[in-house]
């Protein structure tokens, strides 16, 4: 077994692109940078929007009942990134498409029973796309 020890990785031809063999047949490659999730978080709206754990998440802004803005630490390159949002028990989550920007994205949570906005006690989301 070989182990490479390093603190940082960058591509040779392009710093921002490293390929890695990842196919089941050991032939196809994927791209390390493109495959990495760029942001994730879990937060509790019932505890002053405390972020329990996160990556590349600067803060959560309360925009009203069931509405929260996720502010990124390092910006995305564009607003065409992919976000997944999940609500708590008996609650759905989604993005507010009008608010997706390079530096932040809005999330919305609704109660299952009546569709009314509600605050989640473990709101989770993640984002994939191009970093700035």
């Amino acid at each position: 077994m070989s182990t490479l020890r390093t603190n940082a990785l960058e591509g040779v031809d392009a710093k921002n692109s490293i390929t890695i063999v990842a196919g089941a047949g050991n032939v196809n490659t994927t791209n390390v940078q493109q495959g990495l999730v760029k942001q994730w978080k879990q937060f509790d709206a019932g505890d002053s929007n405390a972020i329990r754990d996160s990556f590349n998440t600067a803060s959560i802004t309360d925009e009203g009942t069931g509405e929260f803005m996720v502010v990124l630490t390092s910006n995305m390159a564009n607003s065409s990134y992919c976000v997944h949002v999940t609500g708590s028990t008996n609650m759905s989550g989604c993005i507010d498409s009008d608010t997706v920007a390079t530096s932040q994205y809005g999330t919305e949570y609704d109660e299952d029973s009546n569709g009314n906005p509600a605050d989640p006690n473990n709101g989770m989301s993640s984002a994939s796309g191009d970093l700035a």
Binding site: M1, S2, T3, L4, R5, T6, N7, A8, L9, E10, G11, V12, D13, K15, N16, S17, I18, V32, Q33, Q34, L36, V37, K38, W40, K41, Q42, R52, D53, F55, N56, S74, N75, A77, H84, V85, T86, G87, S88, T89, N90, M91, S92, G93, E111, D112, S113, N114, G115, N121, N122, M124, S125, S126, D130, L131, A132
Partner: protein, 130 residues
């Protein structure tokens, strides 16, 4: 093009931390933090749900209609991770109040908010491995 061959990557200063230059060449991201730690796709309508494909997922426990516990192979470090998912055909999934280091309980629902089995469900977990 240069090709580096290795079986394992480890940080030098911190074993579990390697920086990677981002797409825009202006910032770095973190390899370990950016890796999805568990994912799966499963058919929740089967009498005994099982994964059609998965990574770092051990098994599914059927807890009732639309109600599943997903068991993780290598545990997470804490229960503060992000678990997101998708349903199909106007169904969705949500986390129940059982987000644990070794498993997560999720519930499928239809548009009316009623619990329902989902025949193509996907789950993704991001966070810190133990």
């Amino acid at each position: 093009m240069a090709t580096l061959k290795t079986n394992t990557l480890t940080g030098t200063s911190t074993a579990g931390s390697i920086a990677v230059t981002g797409e825009g060449n202006s910032t770095t991201t973190n390899l370990q933090q950016g890796l999805t730690k568990c994912w799966c796709k499963f058919n929740g309508e089967d009498s005994t749900p099982s994964f059609s494909d998965s990574f770092n997922m051990a098994s599914i426990t059927d807890e009732g209609t639309g109600d599943y516990t997903i068991n993780i192979s290598n545990d997470m470090a804490n229960d503060d991770y992000s678990c997101t998912h998708h349903g199909i055909n106007r169904t969705f999934l949500e986390n129940a109040d059982q987000v644990l280091v070794g498993s997560v309980r999720i519930v499928g629902r239809n548009q009316a908010g009623n619990a329902t089995d989902i025949n193509e469900a996907g789950v993704q977990i991001c966070g810190d491995l133990a």
